[in-house]
């Protein structure tokens, strides 16, 4: 039986599924319900300084990108950090941690970029008995206009400085939550590491505008006729987050730092992606906001079954396995050749592969055979681009077949070379190296 027990940056939880710091974790009421449903950990909704709390809009805080049957693809919010008094949150956190000692409880923090502000809040937070802190350097709306959130996360020096303060004034594990609204995720991650961070978590939400109301021609959603960019999350952002997770795992400066994967985790498959690319656990928000807390049970169950089938005892057994398969383009084997294959028994003859290839790619799928509607790959034109596989509505009807070394590539008229060849050594590359890189 798979054991999902998770150890992340010194924090133990019964499973790797944590609720991210967000509206679902704003109150004891919600967090109790979450733990009852089975969540392994909770990152409490971000706390700010003592004093008058922030004020949220009393209009739409959320927007979504939906399929026609209203399945949610992407989600956007303009909610700020907790708008409840600091002491109320701290008291509730203390009470929740006592009630659920086996679950991870992490405090998300966002206070101004002064040493005193961090020095003041850290002991109060530690006093709740929580297991760690997460520094919210990612919120892209509202708080960033006040010099916090993403405004800090976009300046590596600030990240390093604040992280160092937190390590200095607290004994708790420090997780630095990164914003994706930057050009190179490795820079803020490295800064966090230099500051002494125990882990990073990513991604926070992405600057986004959901759209425009066609009737009013106002941006949507809007409050009082005006809107402001929000933070984008949900299934649509997962590929962006996965790349950033892999970049941190591959970079010499940051490799090995524990990563809490965030962004579009809605199922065990999503968690698998993150963990296989090196993440130690995952955080979830959107899926819970769409389906409620019970969804964690399907995630836990799915991951357990997968691990049982594969003979994995712990997530450590496969963590980071896929990271080894990520490289730079220049190291891809240009001698490897794939061709699309259409399984005629499964083909429903919609013709989407044909028109996609014909109009936008390589004219490598014919639409007729002996005067009859029939779709077939022209191997002498196919470059193995995967477009047809992608647009085919039938799973596994079109697949890519990798040609064996020595097999004739009908497109080039040459046999597939047995030796790999990447761009660094390719004859067409004027900067080519004599030897293969490591």
């Amino acid at each position: 039986m798979a054991d999902l027990t998770n150890h992340f940056a010194g924090i133990r939880s019964p499973n790797p599924f944590w609720l991210a710091s967000a509206p679902p974790t704003d109150k004891a009421t919600n967090v109790h319900r979450a733990f009852e449903a089975g969540w392994g950990g909770v990152v409490w909704k971000t706390l700010g300084e003592a004093g008058p709390p922030v004020v949220n809009v009393s209009g739409p805080r959320y927007g979504a990108l939906l399929t026609p049957d209203r399945k949610l693809l992407g989600f956007n919010n303009i909610e700020l950090i907790t708008d409840r008094p600091l002491q109320t949150n701290l008291a509730e956190m203390r009470e929740v941690k006592r009630a659920w000692p086996d679950r991870a409880l992490v405090a998300s923090l966002m206070v101004p970029c002064t040493e005193s502000a961090w020095r003041d809040i850290l002991p109060m937070v530690e006093d709740t008995g929580c297991d760690g802190i997460e520094l919210n350097f990612g919120c892209p709306h509202g708080m960033s206009e006040r010099g916090m959130g993403a405004a800090v996360g976009q300046v590596p020096e600030y990240i390093q400085m604040v992280t160092a303060w937190c390590k200095h004034y607290s004994r708790l594990p420090v997780i630095v939550k990164l914003t994706p609204n930057i050009t190179d995720i490795r820079q803020p991650a490295a800064a966090a590491k230099r500051g002494g961070a125990d882990a990073v978590s990513l991604i926070n939400t992405i600057n986004s505008i959901m759209g425009v109301d066609p009737d009013t021609l106002q941006m949507s959603p809007s409050t009082g006729g005006m809107g402001s960019h929000g933070g984008y999350c949900g299934p649509a952002v997962k590929p962006i987050a996965l790349n950033m997770v892999a970049e941190i795992g591959r970079s010499a400066d940051t490799a090995g730092i524990p990563i809490s994967g965030i962004g579009g985790v809605g199922s065990w498959r999503d968690a698998l992606d993150y963990i296989a690319l090196g993440a130690g656990n995952v955080q979830v928000c959107t899926a819970a906001m769409v389906y409620g807390f019970k969804i964690v049970q399907e995630m836990v169950d799915g991951l357990s079954h997968y691990m049982d089938e594969r003979g994995f005892h712990s997530t450590e057994d496969f963590r980071g396995r896929a990271l080894k398969t990520v490289t730079d383009w220049q190291y891809l084997n240009l001698n490897a050749v794939s061709k699309a294959v259409i399984d005629q028994d499964q083909c429903i003859e919609c013709g989407r592969c044909h028109i996609a290839c014909e109009d936008t790619s390589h004219q490598a799928i014919s639409a007729m055979k002996d005067g009859v509607r029939h779709f077939e790959v022209k191997e002498d034109e196919c470059v193995g681009c995967n477009l047809c596989v992608t647009v085919c509505p039938v799973p596994d009807c079109i697949t890519l077949r990798t040609l064996a070394p020595g097999e004739l590539d009908q497109r080039t008229g040459q046999p597939v070379p047995a030796q790999p060849l990447n761009w660094t050594a390719h004859p067409n590359n004027p900067m080519r190296q004599a030897a293969e890189p490591a």
Partner: protein, 464 residues
Amino acid sequence: MSAPSSTVPSTTAEPDIRAARLSAAQYAQHFADAAPRYSRSQALVEAERCLYCFDAPCATACPTGIDVPSFIRRIAEDNLRGAAKAILAANPLGGTCARVCPTEELCEQVCVRTAQQGKPVEIGRLQRYAVDAVMDRPLSTLFPRAAATGRRIAVVGAGPAGLACAVGLARRGHTVVLHDARPKGGGLNEYGLAGYKMADDFARRELDWLLGIGGITLNTGWRLTDRAQLDTLRADHDAVFLAIGLPGTQALAVPGAGLQGVRDAVAFIAELRQSPDKGAIPVGRRVVVIGGGMTAVDAAVQSRLLGAEEVHMVYRRGPGQMGASAAERDWAQTHGVTLHHWLAPEAVLGEQGHAVAVRFAGQALVDGRLQATGTHTTLAADQVFLAIGQTPDTPLLAGTGLALDGGRIVADDDGHTSVPGLYAGGDCRRGGRDLTVAAVEDGKRAAAAIHAHLSTLPTALTPA
């Protein structure tokens, strides 16, 4: 299907044919819309199932060539006006066809989703959703009329073919006089279809909407009966389009066919459609419908809906040869109609001048030919409906000088007959498929052909 057991007709009771078998609420429920318009949610979800196929088989299967993937995509994008325009450009009677087309034998039969998911995209219902959505605006907002050409065309018959032709000509700026023998236009849409398919007076609403394009004068109660009339029409107009349908019905040539209680199904359906009070229409307690087509189904099902307790639909051949589609047969059976195959009527049995039963002879296909098996089955009946086919207006057509084949007018796909300037389409044309949508295509193509011909002439021959 096994042969039904012989039923000994009652000899004691009077034939039981009467009106008002049910309550008003039951009639309202029974004759309500059979497949109500999709909600927006339903339409969006169903539209999402469409794969936007390359060279889509559904569009090829549609006799009017509606670009189905385009109109469905437009529904998905909340562009109902564009969706309706795509439909109506190919088929001005898209609203009726969405309701009555045997889609399971046309567009939906070839939908690739069937191969993948076991059921096609519900193209007909999506089509109705789009067309219904634009009918609160004048048709001319979708298709503005071209500048007046001064040409005048007479269209005889305001059914699907005639209407499609008239609208096609009006759009192109021509002036049309649309004649029809009945008190109302619409042809079979108005008189020949079951009420639940065309609920809420849809045939009239669609007719009014189509005529709203302008340039069409509907002249009802005018019947074309002889060649002199036709010659006058031709003399007074730049072209004449005949879409006179099949006004006759096949007679049943067996003993007892003339007994009371034996009724033409077409007339029954028409009377039912025109009666605002369904309870006013008498129907037998036990009904036998003879025939295997859509008309037989419409008569049989509506008999049940009027309160007939026992309805048998009897066809002399097997299910494979039946005119009624599988969906129509299912529809009949779910409404309590018993289907019988391989039974040919031999005699209507009567008492005191009134039909009480129908005797059938068992049939079998031997070497491709229908032969009597020697068995007999008798079904008791208070009322018998005949739905064994409709016939051309032979007395009229024989005298027109038009080339005929099997009594129907010989014309090409563009409606050209053997007589220059005289066009024909719809059910009266030889080779017609007896489908509303095929009739629409005939009318549409004839309009294009007439327009093309008139465009070659130097000036208008007659004032508008």
